[in-house]
Symmetry: C2
């Protein structure tokens, strides 16, 4: 089965588009995606890559672009959503815990639905507890582990690994040494993977 790494950060608005369709794409293409949470904020600050702050035309466009593409796919975002996320790190540390236990995709989808469709910031209450519950995990246990040293270090390690791959934004799809940035490059990543497989 062809496998593609799906690097993402809860906190990236465009990532909503990928999070909400990866499962369907897996069914349609037979490709499996491995969900890899990292801290995109750290990477972007380090690279002085600040695409939307103080750029109102570009920020307005981004919202409209996400809105239009979402509607084409039958999604109902309510934009602008709260941004930036105060608890971006915690939201992604929970995803790190989930990735080790198999409920990461369900948690991330639930978080994005609450954040982008209902206006409840991911990483904060009530979003975080409700999304963990929806993913079938135990809130108290997960939050304790997400705030402990292992998950903190896990997110730092993942972020360093992302940087070493040349990743500078979320979502990024990785096929061998090739990186594909943006939900709009998901199809390119799949073509590349399938080409390799031949």
């Amino acid at each position: 089965m062809p496998i593609i790494d799906f690097w993402f950060s809860i906190g990236s608005t465009y990532t909503y588009l990928s999070v909400m369709r990866i499962e369907q794409v897996e069914k349609q293409t037979g490709v499996r995606f491995v969900w890899k949470p990292f801290n995109v904020r750290v990477v972007m600050i380090e690279m002085n890559n600040v695409p939307f702050v103080n750029k109102p035309a570009k920020a307005a466009y981004m919202r409209r672009d996400i809105e239009r593409r979402s509607q084409m796919r039958g999604l109902s975002p309510k934009l602008p959503a709260p941004y930036p996320l105060a608890e971006l790190e915690r939201a992604n540390r929970v995803a790190i815990v989930g990735a080790a236990e198999g409920w990461c995709p369900a948690y991330v989808r639930a978080s994005y639905r609450r954040w982008i469709e209902q206006g409840l910031p991911a990483g904060n209450e009530p979003n975080i507890s409700q999304s963990i519950t929806e993913a079938g995990a135990d809130v108290e246990d997960v939050l304790a582990r997400a705030d402990a040293e292992e998950a903190v270090a896990g997110l730092v390690d993942a972020t360093n690994q992302a940087k070493s791959l040349g990743i500078f934004g979320s979502p990024t799809f990785v096929v061998g040494k090739e990186i594909f940035w943006g939900d709009d490059r998901l199809e390119d990543a799949i073509s590349w993977k399938n080409r390799q497989a031949k």
Copy 2:
């Protein structure tokens, strides 16, 4: 016949992808594109939108992304191409003259081919004269008019019009009040246009 405005600046590397396929897209879809040159550099500087300078990871990705997408379409870019263009303004003033006379698309394609595929900066010799000739216009006459007041004012006017539409990058496709930024949104622009037509 459905019409979409195609706003572009010679000098934008990603615009190569659109310039090289617009003609084929017209044949396949029946949509007609009106070529609208403007000065994207002025707009981006004003908006403090500098996507690649001092962002080596993003710049390297941009080149690879253009390379891969070009190859998928049978094009042969040689990247990195000279960047930024010293004579961006002159290159686009010639396009302004061409837009009034019907040879703008042929000139812009010829300029991009020499710039991105052969490493000859657009707007400079020999690219500029060769591309005007290839488009079927008279070099001496065109360059004289491109450097005269009317074309200078024409590019400024076009750039102000672009800004008033909310345009912040090249290429941008405009359908009514909706703007679609990037070669990767060309299909969205066409869908939007066709939806309107129904």
